[in-house]
Amino acid sequence: MNTIWALAGIVIKELYRRKDFYVLFVLTALITIATGMVNFFHDPKIVRYVKDICMLLIWISALLIAIVTTARQIPAERESRTIFPLLAKPVSRWQVILGKFLGCWLATGIALLVFYAFFAIITGSREQNWPWLSYLQAAGLQWAMLAVVIALSLFVSIVSAAPSSTTTICFIVVAGILLVGGHLNSVALNQAEPVQTILYTIYFLIPHLEWFDIRDRLVYDWAHLVPWRDCLLAALYAAAYTGLFLLLTWLGFRRKSLNT
């Protein structure tokens, strides 16, 4: 476990020493503040559009950080040859995978905390209202979803040729699931065989990441929280898919020849 935490620490250090996170945060902050400064019909109390835009930017930034950071972990280690002195230590490949996953997930979690803190400040300053439990649920569910995304990115990085192609593939898959995944059953109903079977198979196989997107509840000040039991079930669901992708990653990585 010590090894895994040590590897995770390296990933986190890399994230906050690279400029990506700061650029994304500054961009999100600037756009949100600029959006909030626009005067619509002389009403300073209009706030939902700011929340909507800020949450969208947070989601995009978090996905960017998660996918781009993860996509380059193992390929960059191989390309820069840092994997050799690492694996020459008593470190198994499974530990490398877990360490990289944990590091990327924790790093993304830290980024999420910063983003949500900013969101709370901006919207709270207008609304004078801080629904902390809603923020907690939204951030927690998003973090759980990012675990699946990170595990998926790790897996694709093992099979794909380069970090850029991993990033592209993962973005397309994740965006596809978020936008269309929940509606595949409706689309399948109107199709003839065998397309219907194919769509249903995809529908039941893919991780339903759209469950974890509860931005609407924050933006529209929905009074009721998601039942905690459902949050827990969703987290378990995310954990299951995360475990599946990590296992696939290990199966792909364990026998890969690494030539110095």
Binding site: V38, F40, F41, H42, D43, K45, I46, V47, R48, Y49, L141, V180, G182, H183, N185, S186, V187, L189, Y203, F204, H208, E210, W211, F212, D213, I214, D216, R217, V219, Y220, D221, W222, V226, P227, D230, L233, A234
Partner: protein, 288 residues
């Protein structure tokens, strides 16, 4: 003698500035897009109009607090732009059923997913309607020729948010972009009558709206009969409230020609006639 690089830099900068001053007056005639002071026109040209619809839909989504059908949800034709249909009346049970696009869950994934979605049909109220305004503002900027943006925005500003000055400014902006549009003129007239209680101004504007409606070609008049009905019935009510019974009757009779409920209007006409026929009460003499 070798030229100093700083001298060369100064010469090149001077040349650039000179060229710019020479070319700038000519460049204005190359493209209208470049002349536009609207950032969306500058960025997208005429393509900006396709975004305007999307922003109007966003206003609708906000009005329903996120409970809104996606392109994958089955819904009947004509349920688009719910906000435009609903402004002015509250939803009946039938409307509620019509707008329940989700239906029964199709499978366990759908069922579980609804725990995270917004699944209740609501409308914004208690001044929360202000949240739709930014999207209407953007829609108007992107497509100034989309009339509904102005009429819907003005309706909510007047009737729900008690901001008639902003509504008037918005409608006038719409009129500048769409001169002679009867719908915007009708909205203005309603604002003068209901919010400012300025009968004369309302009458003038509604009559102007009617004239504009009449200037349409026959086909448009056939399609926009509702517009004629709205203008004439409001004129009729205005005249009735102002005590001009004959004018009121004239307008109600004009409305009857297009109204699907002429009997209800006849009832109104009869009431006015009865009121006109009733003897006026004798003036009281305080010296008796």
């Amino acid at each position: 003698m070798k030229a100093s690089p700083y001298l060369l830099l100064a010469l090149v900068l001077t040349a650039c500035f000179t060229l710019a001053t020479g070319i700038e007056p000519r460049a204005g005639s190359w493209s209208n897009q470049a002349k536009s002071n609207n950032v969306f026109s500058l960025l997208f040209g005429d393509g900006r109009r396709m975004f305007a619809n999307q922003f109007f839909t966003m206003a609708d989504v906000y009005f329903h607090s996120g409970y809104y059908p996606s392109i994958f949800d089955a819904r009947k034709e004509g349920t688009k732009e719910i906000i435009a249909e609903s402004h002015g009346h509250t939803d009946s049970e039938e409307d509620e059923r019509k707008e329940d696009f989700l239906g029964k869950p199709k499978d366990w994934i759908d069922r579980f997913g609804r725990h995270f979605r917004i699944t209740e049909h609501t409308h914004l109220e208690q001044n929360q309607e202000r949240e739709i305004l930014p999207w209407l503002r953007l829609a108007a900027d992107l497509d100034p020729q989309m009339i509904e943006t102005y009429t819907v925005g003005a309706y909510f500003m007047c009737q729900h948010l008690n901001r008639p000055q902003d509504a008037e400014a918005f409608l006038r902006e719409g009129l500048r972009s769409n001169p002679g549009n009867y719908e915007i003129l009708f909205g203005l007239g309603r604002l003068y009558y209901q919010n400012y209680h300025d009968t004369d101004r309302a009458r003038n504007v509604w009559q102007l709206a009617l004239n504009c409606w009449m200037k349409q070609d026959y086909q448009d008049q056939r399609e926009n009969r509702l517009g004629f009905e709205e203008i004439t019935v409001n004129l009729a009510n205005l005249e009735r409230d102002a005590g001009n019974g004959e004018e009121a009757i004239r307008w109600f009779q004009a409305t009857q020609k297009v109204s699907p409920a002429p009997r209800a209007l006849q009832k109104q006409i009869d009431e006015i006639k009865m009121k006109m026929a009733a003897p006026s009460p004798a003036p009281t003499n305080s010296l008796r």
